[in-house]
Symmetry: C2
Subunit: 192 residues, 2 copies
């Protein structure tokens, strides 16, 4: 029972994740994804360059939202306060579809070396975008890189808890991501 | 003027990096790499499964050395002290060839989306290996993940400085990596 009204792009993502889970990533074709989503192959290619890109559909949006949130944090915000603003902004893009798909997407990535590579590049790219946004605020380089890594870890940890937990609670991702950031900040005091 | 005596595996790595730089990654074939290295294609395939794997040739060794260094750190070592032991162990595997190839390898990766993906997975895998080694020492999970990320950043920052600086100095990578770890530890105090 889907809790959102999916358009063609969303239906393609759901169909792809379903097929990757059922048939495996390598065995799934673009034609199958399009058919399952009830669209033509040319519609698929209007949205995605290949089947692998389906799995990182939100990367550019996420990157932009992290950057905007960090850029628009108040002038006196500390590096981690700016990261928290980025997390809040990025979390706002994640709705019920992302939450429901999360665990299956994770399983599909875990089962495919090719998807693991693409997923790893997504992580590296998001950290680089946050680092650049922090440097643009005047945060010195090693601190910016470290704060960005904390932000990325917090987003991933928060997303896992949010999507793997009870989907009937109304909580938003932001709550989980900010709690994870607090936890990581506390952990940074015990590095020794 | 090479400062090491290369065997077939090393010659293949050098040939691949040269060709990726000259011709581009996509245009380079395994046959060309083998020819340039003065070996047969079947020798190539005894060492690497495809041309992409040449660029992450040291990943398994690095991962093992990080893990061993962390595991063998003294009982009372803090998480970052254990990471420092891992950095020292891993650095010992990096010799003149790695130092000389570093900047060209970096350029080849920067020019190829496919290599960026593989390189990103290498980073994620190394961080995961260090996290697991720290957890095995009893370091709690968020601290372990954070310490591993610091270790990976320190290794990358140290490697860049070592390979992009004056190659005639006799300094070892470990010195650069440990200095970068100290810098990151100091930066963690200013996250806010």
């Amino acid at each position: 029972m889907a809790r959102w009204e999916p358009g063609a792009r969303e239906r393609l993502v759901v169909a792809a994740v379903d097929l990757f889970t059922e048939e495996g990533y390598d065995a799934t074709t673009v034609a199958q994804i399009a058919e399952r989503a009830g669209v033509t192959k040319s519609t698929f290619f209007r949205h995605f360059s290949d089947k692998r890109e389906v799995l990182v559909a939100g990367q550019e949006t996420l990157s932009r939202l992290f950057t905007e949130g960090i850029a628009e944090a108040p002038d006196g915000a500390s590096p981690l306060e700016a990261v928290a603003a980025g997390l809040q902004r990025a979390s706002s893009a994640m709705g019920p579809m992302n939450r429901e798909l999360g665990p299956r997407l994770k399983a599909a990535v875990a089962a495919s070396a090719e998807l693991q590579e693409r997923d790893a590049l997504k992580s590296v790219s998001l950290a680089a975008a946050m680092t650049a946004a922090l440097v643009a605020r005047g945060v010195p380089d090693p601190t910016a890189q470290l704060a960005a890594e904390l932000g990325l870890l917090a987003f991933k940890r928060g997303f896992s808890e949010w999507s793997e937990g009870d989907q009937d609670t109304d909580n938003e991702l932001a709550k989980y991501a900010l709690a994870a950031l607090d936890e990581l900040r506390a952990a940074s005091a015990s590095l020794g």
